[in-house]
């Protein structure tokens, strides 16, 4: 065990020395890693926000509306509300009176609202708006609700919601594919960079082997060098991406259109998740890159 500790201390020292002595190459590697991670961050940012936008939009249609018959007593209405609330998958139920519904409609129509003034009597029914825990429960809830007395109609934007769901799913999938491809590509770029570093030090590795060094003894300092490069590359990428996102977010909030910001993932949340992703990837890429790219040269 004392042997191992010694090797590890030696590796750390050599790794730091190595990345400092090959400063130029280290800088090249770090900028490459940072660049690729930044690109990844940008794409992640785009995808996550499109996703967030869809989710929020979808949420607005994510309800079932139960129109009540016109001549129900208050007690009947309350009973219906309670029955609905007890159904599995129902998150909340709230009562929307016919007056309130007309009011909402007027507001929603804005400039055209005056058209509704021309109505002789309020044609809208009282209704319950049912919020679901998840879209998956929709069909089940609708079926159960339809068995209740006193309902005139069950309105449910099934087609619309399903379209939005389809689009959201597609965007999420496309996003995942793009991010997956990007991770692969960045692995590739970084592995190549480190491979070039290793090729440039091929002779050195050969010499180590001739002096009787084991593969792990040779590999360790390179891995630590790779880790150092990964950490520094990640740090730069995290800094730039965080700062950039905060800047864009603030810009949108203040200058462009405040309403968009509602659909965006807030800066702290985004920064926290992207920082973890970038750090894990950067370090992983650095270490794995070293190991992969050294394989060939250890067979001497």
């Amino acid at each position: 065990m004392a042997m191992k500790t010694r090797t590890i201390i030696y590796s750390i020292k050599q790794g730091i020395k190595g990345s400092w002595r090959n400063r130029m190459m280290s800088i090249a590697s770090i900028t490459s890693i940072a660049s690729v991670l930044m690109i990844l961050g940008i794409v992640f940012m785009i995808v996550i926000n499109i996703n967030s936008f869809s989710e929020i939009t979808k949420g607005q249609f994510d309800t079932i509306q139960l129109d009540l018959e016109d001549d129900l007593s208050d007690g009947d209405m309350q009973n219906i509300g309670k029955s609905v609330k007890s159904i599995d998958g129902v998150k909340s139920v709230y009562f929307l009176s016919k007056e309130k519904a007309l009011d909402n409609m007027k507001k929603k129509w804005g400039e055209n609202g005056y058209l509704l003034e021309g109505l002789q009597k309020n044609p809208l029914p009282n209704s319950y708006v049912v919020e679901l825990m998840d879209m998956r429960y929709a069909d089940e809830v609708v079926k159960r609700v339809k068995g209740l007395q006193g309902l005139e109609e069950v309105r449910y934007y099934k087609d619309l919601v399903e379209k939005i769901l389809k689009i959201t799913d597609f965007i999420r999938l496309a996003g995942l594919i793009v991010i997956g491809v990007l991770i692969l590509i960045s692995m590739f770029v970084v592995a190549n960079t480190i491979k070039l570093t290793v090729i440039a030090r091929k002779k050195e590795i050969g010499i180590m082997k001739y002096v009787g060094a084991t593969n792990w003894f040779i590999r360790c300092p390179f891995m630590i060098e790779g880790m150092i490069l990964g950490v520094m590359g990640s740090a730069i990428a995290i800094g730039v991406i965080s700062f950039g996102y905060k800047y864009v977010f603030d810009l949108i909030t203040q200058k462009v259109y405040v309403m968009i910001a509602v659909y965006m993932v807030p800066a702290p949340v985004f920064i926290k998740s992207i920082a973890i992703i970038i750090a894990v990837l950067g370090i992983g890429i650095g270490v794995l890159g070293s190991i992969i790219s050294m394989r060939k040269f250890l067979r001497v």
């Binding site: 030696y10 190595g18 090959n22 050195e204 180590m208 082997k209 001739y210 002096v211 009787g212």
Partner: protein, 228 residues
């Protein structure tokens, strides 16, 4: 301790670098390997180090057939041998001190022991004042001496040297030879490929002469034996 059994090495179709060589070197011997340029001396050494494998034949070190050992055992094989390469092979991004220290670190020597031993060896080969320089800042002869220091620092049981005096002036060359003889007296087997006629003639040791990949002469207390 070192046994070549019908070893043939063929790099390319048409020509054999070593052909059907059988030779036996005992523990503690001092052997010169001589022969014209391209006769196969370095090939002989590379085979010992398992840098290359023979096309045909067996090579035994300490009774073990090294053509059959696994990849993982190679480092341990090499630790038995100190090597001075014809082209030095120093680590370019390590100082003289670190190059020597590295060879010790590889076999897990304690830092304390390294700090004690490295300066001794550097003094022995006469380059103490170059300890903190990088190989490219050294003269040819100085690099060669660093290579020697690295080869002997771990007290190997075999010391292999390919042309270790090629870049040294006669005086330094003789000092190096005295050093090797001294190491040999402590029981280390020494195998040295060389073109230095004077040295071979003077040292009165076993001489194996190779020509075209074949042993043409193997004398105890031999001489270089090629006429100008």
């Amino acid at each position: 301790m070192i046994k070549f059994l019908n070893v043939t090495k063929q790099y390319q179709e048409d020509k054999m670098a070593l052909s059907d060589m059988t030779v036996n070197i005992d523990r503690g011997e001092f052997v010169f390997l001589v022969g014209p340029s391209g006769s196969g001396k370095s090939t002989f050494i590379k085979l010992l180090l398992k840098e290359i494998d023979p096309t045909i034949g067996k090579i035994k070190i300490d009774g073990k057939d090294i053509t059959r050992i696994s990849q993982r055992k190679i480092p341990h094989l090499r630790r038995k041998m100190g090597v001075v390469f014809q082209d030095f092979r120093l680590l370019q991004d390590k100082t003289v001190y670190e190059n020597v220290a590295f060879a010790m670190a590889v076999i897990n020597t304690s830092p304390k022991e390294i700090r004690r031993q490295v300066p001794n060896v550097l003094a022995l080969v006469g380059i103490s004042d170059r300890a903190n320089m990088f190989p490219h800042q050294l003269s040819g002869g100085e690099q060669q001496r660093v290579a020697i220091a690295r080869a002997i620092v771990n007290n190997p049981s075999v010391l292999i040297a390919d042309e270790p005096t090629g870049n040294l002036d006669p005086e330094t060359a003789w000092e190096t030879m005295k050093l090797l003889k001294q190491i040999n007296r402590r029981g280390t087997t020494i195998l040295m490929a060389t073109h230095a006629k004077d040295i071979v003639d003077m040292m009165q040791q076993r001489v194996i002469a190779i020509e075209n990949g074949k042993i043409v002469r193997d004398d105890q207390k031999g001489v270089y034996g090629y006429e100008d």
